[in-house]
């Protein structure tokens, strides 16, 4: 003993840190990453590498040269943004498009607001939507998975894209979806952006995060429930025009969005009921965009729109205080 430390209580701290929580999210994403590399091959690995590297480098450069503050890349949040961005774009996306996406995600959506914890919108989604709007060609040319050791890729639209295009040409939903069976959707045998293709791997990560108490399941479950219910109603009214619940749950990045993007701490409400309303909003908006919007896919937009109302949800849904009405 040399000198005693004197500071106010509490004198101990839980083992949780921002870094350990973010690392848990990275771990939870590993099954989906492995899955996408296996199904899409080495090109997907390149997409992941470019995305993660550019996100981390950019955050490091911004903190060092623009903000002149200690680097924050050690908290692993930039790694998560990188992985999520990569899982949100087709594996055929050129590297420079991905770099632009990272600049928008980290540079514009995250660091401009003050870095981790200060941003209003999920950075990876902002990057993704920017690319979708700016480079629609690259972002909507999807390929059938060719596999790690596969042969030539077959280009084609995603299931949701197929359906929307087909409907505009007068076909019925039954005709358009008969090509897909749900086993394929669950086990990733269809075209889509990387994160869309392996529902089971994503769900495994989600279960891991819930078990580790990193996230609570309510946001995700309310999204699933709302999507299922909304599509059940519309499908029940007119199955020729509207796709069925299982199809909607398993396609178009809904699982990736619901499990990993909507549950982002920073951009989701803190309270359980706030989270449920947030999830219902995302689920409903997703279905409205899918059924009536001009884009085949609505999850990204739905999450970003609901991100915007999080401060209000945090104000409205407060926990009951002890001993107060």
């Amino acid at each position: 003993m040399s000198k005693l430390i004197v500071s106010p209580s509490p004198h101990i701290h839980s083992k949780d840190s921002t870094r350990s929580l973010m690392l848990d999210v990275v771990i939870a994403l590993i099954p989906a990453v492995i899955c996408s590399v296996v199904f899409y091959g080495w090109q997907e690995l390149l997409v992941l590498g470019v995305s993660v590297a550019s996100c981390v480098l950019l955050e490091w450069a911004i903190t060092k040269y623009m903000l002149k503050k200690p680097s924050t890349i050690g908290d692993f949040s930039a790694v998560i943004t990188g992985i999520l961005l990569a899982l949100n774009v087709p594996y055929t996306t050129p590297w420079w498009v991905i770099v632009i996406g990272s600049i928008v995600a980290i540079g514009v959506a995250k660091m401009t607001f003050g870095g981790l914890g200060q941003n209003i919108w999920n950075p990876a989604l902002v990057g993704r939507v920017f690319l979708l709007v700016s480079f629609p060609t690259y972002m909507t040319t999807w390929s059938q998975p060719q596999g790690l050791f596969g042969v030539d890729a077959i280009s084609g639209p995603t299931p949701l894209g197929t359906v929307q295009e087909g409907l505009m040409q007068g076909a019925t939903v039954q005709e358009l979806t008969s090509a897909y069976n749900y086993k394929d959707l669950l086990f990733a045998n269809l075209g889509g952006s990387a994160g869309e293709v392996c529902a089971l791997a994503l769900l495994a990560g989600f279960v891991y995060l819930c078990c580790r108490k990193v996230i609570k399941p309510w946001i995700t479950l309310s999204i699933f429930a709302t999507v299922a219910l909304t599509s059940l109603i519309f499908w029940g009214i007119d199955p020729a025009r509207f796709t069925d619940p299982a199809f909607n749950l398993l396609t178009g990045g809904l699982i990736l969005g619901a499990c990993f993007m909507a549950t982002d701490y920073v951009t989701s409400p803190m309270s359980v009921w706030g989270g449920v309303v947030f999830g219902v909003g995302i689920g409903f908006l997703t279905m409205m965009i899918r059924y009536f919007g001009s884009y085949p896919e609505g999850v990204s937009f739905a999450i970003l729109i609901m991100n915007s109302v999080v401060p209000l949800l945090n104000m409205w849904f407060k926990q009951k205080k002890f001993g107060r009405k």
């Binding site: 430390i5 949780d16 205080k321």
Partner: protein
């Protein structure tokens, strides 16, 4: 066996009860003790001895300085050496009575035998007076004079006495050892308390990590044949031993903001306080000693000691082999709510329940990062507050918003800061905000009172 806990928040720190197997042991008398006259909530006591006086163990050396105040007794026999300021735990001067120890002679009328007296006097007023004269204060932490708690304001009615045996602070085991080794006396003390409060039912609440104590107290109640006293097994959860939390857990009633437990019909007393009630009422023995857990992973010799009030901390530590080289922080109390000791020369007070040694690795604060809005602090807060928000408001000094968001309800349990992954010193800031909110509320109350009086004239 139903296990209960409080309804909002709470955390699960590792309980680290490494001194649980150490039986209570009498600490040899120190050569000199320093007895503070301000070791309870309320007005300091007024010394009634002079320098040079000979005193005996249990003799009154200071009298209450008001209703919310209490008697202070000499914990040793010997000569009063000085009366004056001396540095306390934090190094701040406060008035102490210094007594040089000579022998161990007890004042007359105190029963120092170990015989269990189960017959309870029937006059409740006389019992409360004995408790007051015995200098009994709440030993669970707040050190409120016990006779004050047992004298509910007119119109309020006690419906249940709760004996707090949760000991939810990690490391501490003095309540546990007391339950195990002095369970008979605690149960008689509980019987006294329930009689005083009007023969209401009494619940002894013990957390599930102390199964031996639970079994022992159940056995004692059955053996002594007391009706109306039961043991409730509580889930392990911090801060279950907080008064408001315990009442919520046991009675499913929530004490309102700024209200006393009696407003929902509850009176809560700690295990060691209950023992002190037994001593004062049945044995005429005032509080002259208390049980202190000395522990820590870096501390070589764990112990639960019976320590005379006013013993210098250094004397206790030296008895057990001195402060270990790797200790970076000494805490009086538990790791969640205890106070860091700046001055090992300071003396124990009635409420000293533990001395905890932590290494730098165990206690070092990490540098704070950005709030990631994970909400873990709000989930952990047992008062249902939003620490992340109070933290911001405290820093901004927005007193109005602090009050609107109930900063003054904060019980300073530390759950928010314990669980914050960004290592933000939430409680440091919230304490300041709480002070500001309380100040505003009190100023308003004072102004309203003054206005009412002016209107009368």
């Amino acid at each position: 066996m139903s296990k209960r806990t409080f309804s909002i928040g709470g955390v699960h720190p590792h309980d680290n009860k490494m001194s649980r197997e150490c039986a209570l042991e009498q600490l040899p008398l120190a050569p000199t003790v320093y007895i503070s006259v301000a070791q309870h909530i309320g007005a300091p006591a007024v010394p009634v001895v002079a320098v040079g006086d000979k005193v005996k163990v249990g003799q009154v050396i200071a009298e209450p300085g008001g209703f919310v105040s209490t008697f202070i007794h000499s914990s040793v026999s010997g000569t009063v050496k000085s009366i004056g300021p001396r540095a306390d735990l934090a190094g701040k001067p406060s008035s102490h009575i210094e007594i040089a120890v000579e022998g161990d002679e007890w004042a007359e009328g105190i029963d120092t035998t170990d015989t269990l007296v189960t017959e309870i006097p029937s006059d409740n007023k006389a019992i409360i007076e004995k408790i007051r004269r015995g200098g009994v204060v709440g030993l669970g932490g707040a050190t409120v004079p016990t006779h004050v708690k047992l004298s509910p304001p007119p119109g309020s009615k006690c419906e249940r006495v709760i004996i707090n045996g949760c000991e939810c602070e990690p490391y501490l085991t003095s309540d546990y050892r007391t339950l195990l080794e002095k369970g008979d006396k605690v149960v008689v003390g509980a019987a006294i308390l329930r009689q005083v409060m009007g023969n209401v039912p009494c619940t002894i609440a013990i957390e599930e990590n102390k199964p031996e104590a639970i079994a022992h107290i159940r056995e004692v109640i059955a053996r002594l044949g007391y009706q109306g006293i039961d043991v409730m097994v509580m889930k392990m959860m911090y801060p279950q031993g907080g008064e408001k939390q315990l009442i919520d857990a046991v009675m499913h009633r929530q004490v309102g903001s700024g209200a006393l437990p009696i407003s929902v019909g509850a009176v809560v007393q700690n295990v060691c306080t209950t023992l002190a009630v037994y001593d004062a009422v049945q044995k005429n023995k005032p509080i002259v000693d208390n049980s202190v857990t000395v522990t820590g992973a870096c501390f070589p010799k764990q112990a639960n000691l019976m320590v005379r009030v006013g013993t210098p901390l250094k004397y206790i530590v030296d008895y057990l082999g001195g402060v270990p080289e790797s200790a970076a922080k000494v805490i009086s109390g538990g790791p969640m709510m205890g106070r860091a000791v700046a001055n090992l020369e300071a003396a124990t007070v009635k409420g000293t329940g533990g001395l905890l040694f932590l290494t730098e690795a165990e206690t070092r604060r990490q540098s704070a990062g950005n709030c990631i809005r994970c909400g873990k602090c709000a989930d952990a807060c047992p008062m249902g507050l939003e620490p992340f928000l109070l933290n911001k408001l405290s820093k901004a000094g927005d007193v109005e918003a602090l009050e609107a968001n109930a900063a003054h309800d904060c019980i300073e349990c530390g759950c928010c800061m314990y669980s914050c992954p960004a290592h933000i010193p939430l409680l440091d800031n919230i304490r300041m905000g709480k002070g500001a909110a309380l100040g505003a509320i009190r100023a308003r109350a004072a102004a309203a009172k003054a206005a009412a009086e002016a209107a009368k004239k």
